[in-house]
């Protein structure tokens, strides 16, 4: 294992080391100590390496990740794993706003709670939150799955497209064009798989599914108050 101590090396050095590890690297496991809440740690990674951050991170940790696994032992600041393409980001603590924003693929696991706008504009990423999520989560979510073991705040799934939302606890309110939908066997299978990948102690049957009513897909004046 390679160790990078952010008390001694700069962010640029940390990221350029990690970004240089491509598919064939022999140096597959990395540890970052003293992250001290720095922003943009381990962003733009592009290979199947495992990075463990011993502490909490600032904005955009794991941003645009491809293939790598990033494990944050503390909490994560805003925009963790934003626009992730593939790979996995796991947060032991809580995540701030916009976790997984616009993510295209891969899996984001938040063991604690996530703040507002979790999964905003998500485009294929899977997100599993063990705790609760804040308001306006999955706003304009396009595709992918958002799984919440706890409760969801106000306006869940506002203006969403084809993303699937699964919530075990209570939903404070649904946003425009978001409705509860029937849980079919294929959804239970997706849930079972994501729960096991995220080490989540819950059964698929305990969840409810929400998705788009598809009423705002093409402009209609009679829906004007919803726009």
């Amino acid at each position: 294992m390679q160790t990078l101590d952010m008390a001694e090396v700069t962010l640029r050095e940390v990221n350029s080391k990690l970004q240089a590890q491509k598919a064939s690297t022999n140096q597959q496991t990395w540890e970052i100590v003293n992250p001290r809440g720095s922003h943009a740690i381990a962003c733009g990674l592009d290979g199947p390496i495992e990075v463990t951050v011993l502490g909490s991170t600032g904005y955009y940790c794991g941003g645009m990740n491809k293939d790598a696994t990033v494990h944050i032992m503390g909490s994560a600041g805003p925009g963790v794993a934003e626009n992730m393409m593939s790979g996995k980001v796991v947060i032991e603590g809580d995540a701030s706003q916009y976790a997984g924003a616009t993510g295209n693929g891969g899996l984001l696991v938040i063991k604690g709670n996530a703040s507002s706008r979790c999964g905003i504009s998500m485009k294929g990423i899977d997100i599993v939150v063990h705790g609760n999520i804040g308001h306006m989560s999955a706003f304009m979510a396009q595709s992918g799955n958002l799984v919440v073991l706890g409760n969801a705040g106000d306006a869940l799934g506002d203006s969403l497209y084809e993303a699937r939302l699964f919530v075990r606890g209570e939903v404070k309110s649904l946003g425009a064009d978001c409705i509860e939908k029937e849980m079919r066997p294929e959804h239970l299978a997706i849930l079972a798989d994501l729960l096991s990948q995220a080490d989540a102690d819950a059964r698929p049957e305990e969840f409810r599914r929400y998705g788009s009513a598809r009423q705002l897909y093409n402009f209609n004046i009679d829906n004007a108050s919803a726009y």
Partner: protein
């Protein structure tokens, strides 16, 4: 006495200036359809513009340069503040960001070919980067928009610069809308959305809200791209002094400032015509902000919105811009609104020069469409050639003016080379009204 009513003088019928034919037609259209007018293009109303400025030329106190023989440079370097690899352009005119989806693949290719032949850059748009434009653009600026359609780190790394779009002149504070008609399989796939549905592009970025977190976003983008790429911030002409100040504070290498005449692919008419300041009014406050921070020329300023001729280019540069960008004019050079399609424009209920329903995807010129038959009308090679011709003409025109003012680089043009024809233009551009030494509103600068 005659009882023929024709002989009695009557009040002539008079139409209301307030309730004009156009306004009344719009009221009737709104009443019949229940939807606001969406269209492409920029503001059509007349606002003070570069036409209201004139160059003074050389005279007793300054001598001109000889046309053709004495050099007048046009090179521009963008991104010198932080980027390891700044962009070098042969001419101070760039192609503005226009989305694939709004424009066809061949139109994007033509823009790339034309810009490359003229030694300048082109820009992606909402909807991501296509092979057509990457392949044919020697220098390609990759837009980072609120929708993040198609955004990915590989395209980020193969771009030559990154442009973070905060706003557009046509709609400062507005998002985008691509109507279902234009969402073909390819467009839908690039945007990760179902085919045939209206695609709303958000008006705010999903993962930052103000200049403080934009600064961190820029750090992230630089980290992902090894600090190589110039980072532009594009703003609409809203509060140019403060917007420029905050863009510099957030770490921009280049500020792109788009005035209200700037084109759009599709926006509500009410937005295009009623929100934002004219291009002419935006430049001086932005330059002032750069100067107040000691950043003029170190952070470059690119101005767009209604640039049509080499004279416009020269005037924008004289007011302090480093370069300009063109959207609408580039499309016209490719063949947009060409009278040769008049019969088809008539069938669409319009006429060449007025066609602006770009969002409907039925463009006779084959530019703002995804229809395979219409698209095939545009030959990217000859259209690209037309664009490069036009860019070269504009450059020659700007050089002609610069030489006449005695400048050996177009960047040496200055406000002192200008006068204004109207009080409004004098106030907005901070140059004296012709025949006077009066600059209205100067105390405010």
């Amino acid at each position: 006495m005659s009882d023929n009513p024709v002989d009695v003088p009557r009040t002539a019928p008079q139409k209301s200036a307030t309730f004009s034919d156009a306004i009344n037609a719009e009221i009737r259209r709104a009443a019949a359809t229940g939807i606001y007018d969406i269209r492409g293009g920029g503001a059509k109303r007349k606002v003070p513009h570069f036409d209201d400025l004139l160059f003074l030329g050389a005279s007793m106190s300054r001598y001109p340069l000889e046309g053709y023989r004495e050099k007048c440079e046009t090179k521009v370097v963008l991104g010198t503040r932080h980027a390891k690899k700044p962009i070098e352009l042969d001419i101070p005119i760039t192609i503005a960001g226009m989305s694939f989806g709004a424009l066809s693949g061949p139109a994007k290719e033509a823009l790339g070919r034309g810009a490359t032949a003229a030694g300048t850059s082109t820009t992606t748009g909402d909807g991501g980067m296509t092979e057509e434009e990457r392949g044919h653009s020697d220098k390609l600026v990759y837009q980072y928009l609120p929708s993040r359609y198609g955004m990915n780190p590989d395209d980020l790394r193969r771009a030559d610069a990154i442009e973070i779009v905060v706003g557009q002149g046509a709609k400062p504070g507005g998002g985008g809308m691509l109507l279902g008609q234009k969402i073909t399989d390819r467009v839908a796939e690039m945007r990760n959305l179902p085919k045939g549905i209206d695609q709303r592009s958000a008006c705010r970025h999903p993962d930052w809200t103000g200049p403080d977190d934009l600064e961190i976003k820029i750090l992230e983008l630089r980290e992902i791209t090894n600090w190589e790429k110039p980072i532009y911030i594009k703003v609409g002409g809203a509060r140019p002094y403060f917007d420029t100040t905050l863009a510099i504070k957030a770490g921009a290498d280049v500020v792109v400032l788009d005035g209200m005449q700037g084109g759009t692919a599709a926006t509500q008419d009410v937005f295009i015509e009623h929100v934002g300041q004219p291009t002419l009014a935006c430049i001086r406050p932005a330059v002032q902000a750069l100067q107040d921070l000691g950043m003029h020329r170190e952070v470059q300023l690119v101005v767009s919105g209604g640039i049509r001729t080499g004279a416009d280019v020269a005037k924008a540069l004289a007011l302090g811009a480093d370069a300009v960008a063109i959207g609408t004019a580039a499309l016209i050079a490719l063949g947009d609104n060409n009278p040769r399609w008049e019969a088809e424009y008539n069938e669409l209920g319009t006429t060449a020069g007025a066609y602006d329903d770009w969002h409907e995807g039925r463009d006779p010129a084959g530019i703002t469409t995804q229809d395979p038959d219409l698209m095939a009308r545009l030959d990217p090679v000859s259209a690209g050639r037309c664009l490069s011709n036009y860019l070269k003409v504009m450059t020659l025109e700007a050089q002609t003016i610069a030489r006449a003012c005695g400048k050996n680089h177009v960047h040496n043009l200055e406000p002192e080379d200008l006068c204004a024809l109207t009080v409004e233009a004098a106030a907005m551009s901070g140059v004296p009204l012709a025949g006077t030494d009066w600059v209205p509103g100067r105390e405010r600068y």
